[in-house]
């Protein structure tokens, strides 16, 4: 099928069981909303496998009055039994932050698609960027962990959306599909694979709703209307949701659990791939649309006899520190091209820690244009040791 990235995201969501969408229009994500408006009300909820037992039968779409209300409605629908998502871009993400913290605090599984555009503020609404890498990770106040995917193709807009729903369900956290305008509006052939597993909403359980089951995994997501008398709150609470706003140990237990369920399962969550990396001396680390240009540049460099390789991060959060700690000793130089002023590079530097045997060279581009293969190739072929490169 020949599809746009944003359309593929919708098909992935439907395949993953998403039956509720609330949003507020914003370029370059609006196609997701429009496609949902067309499709969801005709799309039946599965009879089994987690959809709300009382549901009217079809999916529900609502255009809310702003992004604050959009994520609020999504979280409400999830507690009513839905798998649900919203999509936005920078300014909308800014408005969602408080309720992102709420979703973290109440362990509400949900998917937030952020099709990044050039910011800050209204910026360049139709132009790509990777400026929200840190916003999605740290935007809401307080301590927590989230999960973020970074798709580089229309195929991954489909597949990562499904995975995002699965991980949201398993870890009961908001999961971001951190796309960018270039991937969201890209059109290419997609294979709508049917054999991708889908994790259903858990059935009724009697375990305390805000506690861990085994392996640092939260207990199954409950739902309203089943006589469980659930107490859901964004205030510090115990395992039954009862407010404990004065007890130091209650807050410590909660925050540690939020962080540990992601950190201690990080190896099961993070995904990456490498190209030409076995004997690489120069490694490009890239993600999202930029990784496409990076791959082309690495191939062109290899033709010139340069030992270049690519490490492509498919998930950005939790950050895969281990790859860097265990990197092959042949790597002497790491180049990090980003459509921002150097965000993920800080994580790479910090993961490398004392390991200063290789140079880490940033390449920033924040003019609303994608990074081209030629620009990366120039970095791979240069003898210069200048430590910072900026597109001017």
């Amino acid at each position: 099928m020949y599809l746009q990235g944003n359309q593929a995201c919708v098909l992935g969501a439907l395949k993953a069981g998403c039956r509720f969408y609330a949003g507020y229009p914003i370029t370059p994500s609006s196609e997701i909303m429009e496609e949902m408006a067309k499709t969801l009300p005709k799309y039946p909820c599965p009879a089994e496998g987690g959809a709300c037992p009382d549901s009217v039968g079809n999916g529900v779409f609502v255009q809310m009055e702003d992004e604050i209300g959009s994520l609020a409605a999504v979280i409400g629908a999830v507690w009513a039994g839905a798998k649900a998502m919203t999509a936005t871009s920078g300014p909308g993400l800014a408005l969602m932050l408080e309720n992102i913290g709420y979703a973290v605090m109440t362990e509400t599984p949900c998917v937030i698609v952020n099709v990044q555009r050039a910011g800050p503020s209204t910026g360049q609404a139709t132009k790509p960027a990777s400026g929200d890498v840190m916003s999605v990770r740290w935007g809401a106040p307080g301590d927590y962990e989230i999960i973020a995917f970074s798709p580089w193709s229309v195929q991954e807009m489909y597949e990562f959306t499904i995975k995002a729903f699965n991980l949201a369900e398993t870890y009961r956290v908001p999961v971001f599909l951190l796309a960018d305008e270039a991937v969201g509006h890209l059109k290419e052939t997609v294979e709508l694979k049917e054999d991708i597993p889908v994790i259903p909403r858990a059935g009724k359980s009697e375990t305390p709703p805000f506690s861990n089951a085994a392996n640092n995994l939260p207990s199954p997501m409950p739902m309203f209307g089943q006589g469980r008398k659930l107490s859901v709150t964004g205030s510090t609470h115990d395992e039954w949701g009862y407010r404990r706003t004065q007890a130091p140990e209650a807050h410590a237990v909660l925050i540690n659990r939020f962080c540990d369920k992601i950190r201690k399962n990080a190896e099961k969550i993070v995904e990456w791939e490498t190209y030409e990396s076995e004997d690489a001396e120069i490694l490009v680390v890239a993600y999202g649309f930029t990784a496409r240009s990076a791959l082309r540049a690495v191939r062109l460099a290899r033709e010139k006899g340069i030992k270049a390789g690519l490490l492509r991060l498919k998930t950005l959060w939790p950050f895969p520190e281990k790859i860097f700690q265990e990197m092959t000793p042949s790597v002497k130089k790491i180049i990090v091209p980003e459509m921002n002023q150097g965000q993920l590079i800080r994580e790479i530097q910090s993961a490398l820690g004392g390991l200063i045997r290789c140079e880490v060279i940033p390449y920033h581009k924040t003019n609303g244009q994608v990074i081209t293969p030629d620009e990366i190739l120039a970095l791979l072929t240069t003898k210069s040791t200048k430590n910072t490169k900026d597109y001017e």
């Binding site: 039956r19 509720f20 609330a22 709300c52 009382d54 549901s55 009217v56 529900v60 609502v62 809310m64 009055e65 702003d66 604050i68 209300g69 959009s70 609020a72 409605a73 999504v74 979280i75 409400g76 629908a77 999830v78 507690w79 009513a80 039994g81 839905a82 649900a84 408080e98 309720n99 709420y102 309203f224 209307g225 089943q226 006589g227 469980r228 008398k229 659930l230 107490s231 859901v232 709150t233 964004g234 205030s235 949701g241 009862y242 407010r243």
Partner: protein, 255 residues
């Protein structure tokens, strides 16, 4: 007649957090009595609240599904719950600041959508929880911690606001006070029973933050004042013409 309402209350939620003279406890009891008299199945209801003293009426007191959300957003959360599962009875209980200042946008849009929610606003004309600051409902001249010389801003009439935003002639819009408990229970029963959107504003005094700053001698005086200042009407037009100073127009204005 005294009814045993214990089954609707989480035993661990006592003692109540409400101050002496706070009206929110009276409203809490009235909501449970209305549910009991209507024989509603509380396990098929969801109580959604924002942040504030009023938001603590259902959460954690009610032995039901409760969701204590973010400040100003309970109506938007409730919208998602109700749209996905219309078979649940979804009730918002929150304060005047929560519903009409930070959350005013969600309130008017819910009224416009005529979504089948019951919204109960406990109006104490002030921000109780945060120490008595000005609310959009604070009367002109009233002293608050942020208007030490008396407020110079005209307040909202919440029923007028909601009626103006409502798209339905059948939406239920009413106002009463915690002094008028029989009427309060009657109005609550009506609000729970109408098929579409319903909004009930309940004047509920805050002695701690409003009363003491505004020369009320005691919590009791403040409650009794509700009786003296209430003016009852049966006509919707009165809502738009009523100008009497220091009086509260109560009644069912629509639906």
């Amino acid at each position: 007649m005294l009814k045993n309402l214990d089954k609707y209350i989480r035993p661990e939620s006592f003692p109540t957090p409400f101050c002496t003279g706070c009206g929110h406890g009276i409203l809490m009891g009235a909501i449970l009595r209305a549910i009991d008299e209507l024989e509603l199945d509380i396990d098929r209801m969801v109580f959604v609240s924002g942040i504030g003293c009023a938001a603590w009426i259902p959460s954690p007191h009610f032995a039901a599904d409760t969701i204590h959300t973010t400040h100003g957003r309970p109506v938007a959360f409730a919208t998602g719950i109700k749209l996905f599962n219309p078979k649940l009875k979804v009730v918002v209980v929150s304060g005047d600041g929560d519903l009409s200042a930070i959350g005013g946008n969600h309130l008017i849009h819910a009224a416009r959508r005529n979504i089948n929610l019951t919204i109960i606003c406990a109006n104490n004309n002030i921000y109780g929880m945060t120490g008595g600051q000005l609310a959009p409902t604070t009367p002109i001249g009233a002293r608050t911690s942020t208007t030490p010389a008396g407020s110079s801003e005209p307040p909202f009439d919440l029923c007028k606001l909601v009626l103006g935003a409502s798209s339905s002639d059948n939406a239920y819009v009413a106002r009463t006070t915690v002094w008028h408990t029989r009427e309060l229970i009657k109005y609550l029963k009506k609000a729970f029973s109408v098929p579409g959107f319903s909004f009930l504003e309940v004047i509920s005094p805050c002695y701690t933050h409003f009363g003491r700053r505004n020369k009320y001698a005691s919590p009791a005086e403040m409650i009794l004042d509700l009786k003296d200042s209430a003016v009852r009407t049966k006509k919707q037009e009165d809502l738009f013409t009523f100008k009497e100073k220091n009086k509260i127009l109560i009644g069912e204005f629509s639906g």
